[in-house]
Symmetry: C2
Subunit: 181 residues, 2 copies
DNA sequence: ACATACATGTAAATAGTTACATGATTTC
DNA sequence: GAAATCATGTAACTATTTACATGTATGT
């Protein structure tokens, strides 16, 4: 799954400009996919070249002209094949967890700061997901599922952070103190 | 955080060869970090060049000779600075969730297959994490925390998969059937 | 005056994976 | 006889991010 596939997918849900596709990834899909302008614009150019999408320019008042992309029938058929053939991969990369492995080497204040930052991060993401699932009316069943998936995961992790942060800090401090005595 | 940092971190826990570092990422840390030989060997060469690690060759019987790397004092100091300065980033990329957004376009059997595959994936990872946390005796408090983090997250998601998979399929089928009648 | 939102696009830099090359030993 | 494990390393390829370039309008 690369940016080409992601763009085709978003366009299968409705017309959009490159800028709007980026916004969708920043908002609705940010918890499980991300991409940048530097990937999106070349992707849309390539999809147009391949005849999988087409576009028309829309001149706006007090806004720059935008290119609105539409998925073609070939694009729809191509995306359908992608859906059936894709080998879904999962990847989670966390610097936070890697750093926590070495918490015993850090000053107490720094461990606290890292734990607080991660807690805030989880809270923020949870807030976004809950807002979308309650406010947005036009979700497909699958989208509602992806939002629930994110909410359930983040809630469980937040609970863990709230229960285990202090005990972890105390445990590391306890292991340190013998040298101080 | 790049492969250089990851290697330094692993070596701060004890001496290891490139091959052993790769194994560590396949086993113990696979739920939140990954890397490949093509990244590890150049990283170790660069760290050696910078004087952050040193190595000695160990000839083995019935096994190829291996280079065992040791973190130097400079390496330890450098890693400590990394721990304090690092801006921890989180990234989760899931093709599974992206595909689920378009479940309404797929045949029922395909949705089922995707959900089953994801469930199996979560079960397998959960099994690995639970085995490590019970069997491994030499874990730092931080490592135990990272394992718990993975376990709690996966358990919550598995429960969701078990509760929501069938309802999701039924809901999508129900939305489809009016056309069939 | 400065930052942000809107809007498109390119190019360089970064980083990583995959495949290849080599070779012994063990297991199925 | 084939595949897996142990062991190191390089090179090509792939993909993505970051920074740059350009310009209007709005908000602080």
């Amino acid at each position: 799954m690369n940016t080409n596939h992601l763009c085709l997918g978003i366009l299968s849900l409705g017309d959009a400009s490159g800028y709007e596709i980026k916004k969708a990834f920043e908002e609705t899909f940010s918890h499980f996919q991300a991409t940048s302008f530097g990937s999106i614009y070349p992707a849309l150019a390539k999809l147009t070249e391949q005849g999988l999408v087409s576009f028309h320019e829309e001149t706006q008042e007090k806004r720059p002209t935008k290119k609105v992309f539409t998925i073609t029938q070939e694009g729809q058929a191509h995306f359908y094949q992608t859906l059936l053939k894709a080998e879904p991969t999962e990847q989670y990369r966390s610097d936070f967890l890697f750093l926590m492995m070495f918490a015993h080497l850090m000053p107490r204040e720094h461990i606290e700061a890292l734990l607080n930052k991660q807690t805030d991060h989880l809270k923020m993401e949870l807030g976004i997901l809950e807002r979308i699932i309650t406010e947005c009316q036009t979700l497909t069943p699958g989208m509602r599922f992806t939002l629930e998936y994110g909410i359930i995961g983040n809630r469980a992790l937040l609970e863990l952070m709230q229960q285990r942060s202090m005990p972890l800090i105390e445990e590391i401090d306890a292991a340190r103190s013998p040298q101080a005595l």
